[in-house]
């Protein structure tokens, strides 16, 4: 009996701590239709700010509350800055770009936190009054836990009353429901939106301060909370306070049951519960209108005109690049060759991401899960079952990636909303990370090391053990896959994807199975990503949990955006350019997140067409300046962009 009570109590406490983070997340989604991927990072900043105010010693209750409020206010100011610099510029673009921007913002924040507060774990005691147990009937519980539960309830009640009873809340709701009309009625819409962003960020900072003594403080703090807050909000129905509240409590219960029933695998039940829940009730507990309508997705994309430079020029250029790459094992040193090979793999990986984004109009934020799937599969097979032919392993990896993509896609895409896919892919990569860290076969936290390189047994044996041989193998395989994809994307299949991307409703009206096409694209994308991973394992000869980290999932997004998502070749170009940037900044150790995040943010805000987009505009300007109004028909299609209208 006592045990059940205790479990229930813990469930409530965990649920309330999730809700404290989810509250701001759901508020900003409800009003701005913006899924803020950086909410967890700002929550973490709140915790660090409170830590800076409090120090590590014990403090009085009042001072603790003040510190939490102070953290909230400072984060609210950061919210205002974020709104001015980033969010206001993205009010009218495709929501995927907003997702990418806030994702980049999260990386910038994580990088900044490491820079300012370091990477060590610190722990902070609750204020003295809360730092002792209290007897509830026959149960001993910590006062701090009681405080968290109370804080969650108070925040919930205040938000409910403010939004539904107070005039201010009704104004906010009016803004959320129809900001166009609100403007016509003379309401200062930009101010209202900025205020709601600030309130949401305030809640994140406040939660950071309040939950600071709950666990040790480290730059990873934001990740897990963000994910659970996402889950709570999805279970509850996006943009709905009550939903987030109930969803958080449910998650607390599930997690508590997990501890009681499956103590060996902490944290796994939540993922299972989310998957089951989404399968049974994809709209969430309290479906809101906000998520029903799918925003038009062609605004931010910007289609590219065909390049005016003839196809022959591009073909010669492509051959030259290929010949250069092929010659590298003959003259490049081991380090450079490794970078070149990794760039090929990253290029393929980015290409797989962009099949989903550039062609199907859906963004995955956990694409590393597929890559890691392939990498771990290939690594394990090569280590434990060397007799399996490597080409079969590659095919197996592709099939496995496609199968997992099918399951995730079937769960997420039934709702016709890319936001679900974004969250579920993040969840997938986290679930993978948790699972791998429990598996002794996959090396837990240490990863798979000393992966042998394969020997191909065609009618004749090809030994790929040497770096040069494996590099050539990489080059040929990548080129073959890219060629097949190029052919697919420029044929009927690619056109079908684009038609769904541009106007899903019209495509559905014309008899296209929109959900099916999207799931198919996701499977193709996941399969190719897994093959890229499988190619990578024997090249790097080590596969670790880094492969499923956020950073790994951002890499294809960044490479594709950098090169240009509206061009077939953009992701490959972006990967090459990023390798150069990375090589140039390799001395700035520990800044990778900051650099990656900043570049990504910069691209989204300034040049959403990426390098190809910039080049194409420059080309157009150049031709215009020369007065050459050459007939468009005379210009052969630039690779990739040609299929765009």
């Amino acid at each position: 009996m006592n045990q059940i009570l205790f479990a229930g109590f813990n469930a409530l406490a965990f649920g309330m701590s999730i809700f404290l983070v989810a509250a701001g997340l759901t508020l900003i989604f409800g009003i701005l239709k913006l899924l803020n991927m950086a909410q967890g990072a700002f929550f973490m900043i709140g915790a660090y700010v409170a830590f800076s105010i409090l120090g590590t010693g014990s403090s009085s209750f009042g001072f603790f509350l003040l510190a939490a409020l102070g953290a909230g206010l400072i984060v609210a100011l950061l919210g205002l800055i974020t709104d001015r610099l980033v969010l206001t510029r993205l009010r009218h673009v495709d929501y995927h770009y907003v997702l990418i921007a806030t994702f980049a913002l999260m990386m910038v924040c994580n990088g900044l936190v490491k820079l300012i507060w370091g990477v060590e774990f610190v722990s902070v005691n609750p204020p003295t009054v809360l730092d002792e147990p209290v007897e509830l009937g026959s149960l001993f519980v910590s006062r701090y836990t009681l405080f968290i539960i109370a804080a969650g309830l108070v925040v919930y009640l205040v938000m409910e009353v403010a939004l539904h009873r107070l005039w201010f809340g009704k104004l906010m709701q009016a803004l959320a429901a129809d900001s166009w009309m609100a403007g016509l009625l003379g309401l200062n819409v930009p101010l209202g939106l900025a205020l709601s962003v600030m309130v949401s960020f305030f809640l994140a900072g406040l939660a950071g301060g309040l939950l600071l003594p709950n666990q040790s403080l480290s730059p990873q703090l934001g990740d897990s909370y963000l994910l659970f807050a996402f889950f709570a909000v999805i279970i509850g129905g996006l943009g709905n306070i009550r939903g987030a509240f109930v969803g958080s409590i449910l998650l607390g219960l599930v997690s508590s049951l997990n501890t009681v029933l499956l103590p060996d695998m902490p944290g796994i039940a939540i993922y299972v519960a989310l998957a089951v829940f989404l399968f049974v009730r994809p709209t969430g507990l309290f479906p809101s209108r906000a998520t029903q309508a799918e925003p038009a997705s062609d605004e931010g994309g910007g289609s590219l005109a065909r390049s005016r430079i003839g196809r022959g020029v591009w073909q010669v250029l492509g051959l030259a690049v290929a010949a250069f790459a092929a010659s590298m094992p003959l003259w490049a040193n081991e380090g450079l060759l490794f970078l070149a090979g990794s760039t090929l793999v990253q290029g393929l990986f980015a290409l797989s991401w962009n099949i989903l984004f550039g062609y199907a109009g859906l963004a995955s934020f956990g694409h590393a899960a597929f890559f890691a799937l392939g990498a771990y599969l290939a690594g394990a097979v090569l280590r434990y079952w060397p007799a399996v032919p490597f080409l079969a392993t590659l095919l197996g990896a592709g099939a496995l990636g496609a199968a997992v993509a099918f399951v995730v896609g079937a769960l997420a895409l039934r709702r016709m909303s890319g936001i679900f896919l974004a969250v579920l892919t993040v969840a997938l990569s986290e679930a993978m990370r948790v699972l791998i860290s429990y598996s002794p076969l996959l090396g837990r936290e240490d990863g798979l090391v000393n992966i042998p390189r394969p020997v191909l047994h065609l009618p004749f044996a090809i030994d790929l053990t040497s770096s040069a041989a494996y590099f050539w193998f990489l080059l040929v395989t990548t080129a073959a896959i890219v060629a097949v994809l190029w052919w697919a994307m420029h044929g009927r299949y690619g056109r079908k994807l684009l038609s769904v991307r541009q106007d899903p409703e019209r495509a559905a009206f014309l008899g296209v199975n929109v959900t099916g096409v999207r799931i198919g694209a996701f499977m193709l994308s996941g399969g190719v990503a897994a093959v890229a991973g499988a190619l990578y394992a024997p090249w790097a000869r080590i596969v670790t949990l880094d492969e499923v980290h956020w950073l790994a999932s951002t890499q294809p997004v960044l490479n594709a955006m950098l090169g240009g998502v509206n061009s077939f070749w953009g992701p490959l170009l972006g990967s090459a350019v990023f390798t150069v940037i990375n090589y140039g900044t390799r001395t700035l150790i520990g800044l990778s997140e900051l650099i990656v995040g900043t570049i990504l943010l910069f691209i989204v805000l300034v040049a959403p067409g990426g390098i190809v987009g910039v080049l194409r505009s420059a080309e157009a300007a150049w031709i215009r300046r020369r007065g050459g109004a050459a007939a468009p028909a005379a210009a052969a299609a630039a690779p990739g962009a040609g299929a765009r209208p």
């Binding site: 009704k170 104004l171 009016a174 016509l184 309401l187 200062n188 819409v189």
Partner: protein, 233 residues
Amino acid sequence: MLEVAHLDAFYGDGQILHAIALDAAEGERVAVLGRNGAGKSTLLKSLMNAGPRVAGAIRFDGRLLAEMPSYRRAQLGLALVPEDRRIYSHLTVLENIAIARYGAAGRKAMEPRQILERFSMLKPLEERYGGQLSGGQQQLLAVGRAFAAGPRLLLLDEPTEGLAPVIVEQMAREIAAICDEEKVGLVLCEQNIWFARACTSRLYLIDTGRIVFSGGWDEFDRNADLKQRYLAV
């Protein structure tokens, strides 16, 4: 009070309005008539900077509005009642009117309850939520709501659409009366010629984005072919 010169308006790359010239003096009431798709709604939205991309000069009280956002225009005294009404479903009738007070920005305006008295059909619905009104009731509420901002120039986009003839007559009297009392100007886009005539003193005809006629109602009546050419379907 309102002077529009050489106004072009675009949706994306498509030009919808071409070199529109239009004006309304203080307290003057004018109608804009035209077929479906002629550009009436686009014209009103252009005046509010609420949708189409606009080039040309819009002056209000002699002041160029240029890039001013729509909420600032509303605060200057321009009030648009859009054709799709846009009543807030989470607010009651009274609250829907009250929310428009922000547009008054310090000007004297009718109290929400006064407005309910004037539009007597709304009176019994005071506590009803916007989402629970019929289309016609929403239409009335949308017009009533606009007066809560104490507007100086009202922009009405087909306010009679979907209303019963009796209600239309009542509304014509009501609008004319309030506009006279409060010295409110009016730009009325309509297809209902009877209603437009009852509310205004002169008119513009708009066809495929161009003003094709401007003058008094007498002149309009004398040229019977105008109606034939620009309004008949």
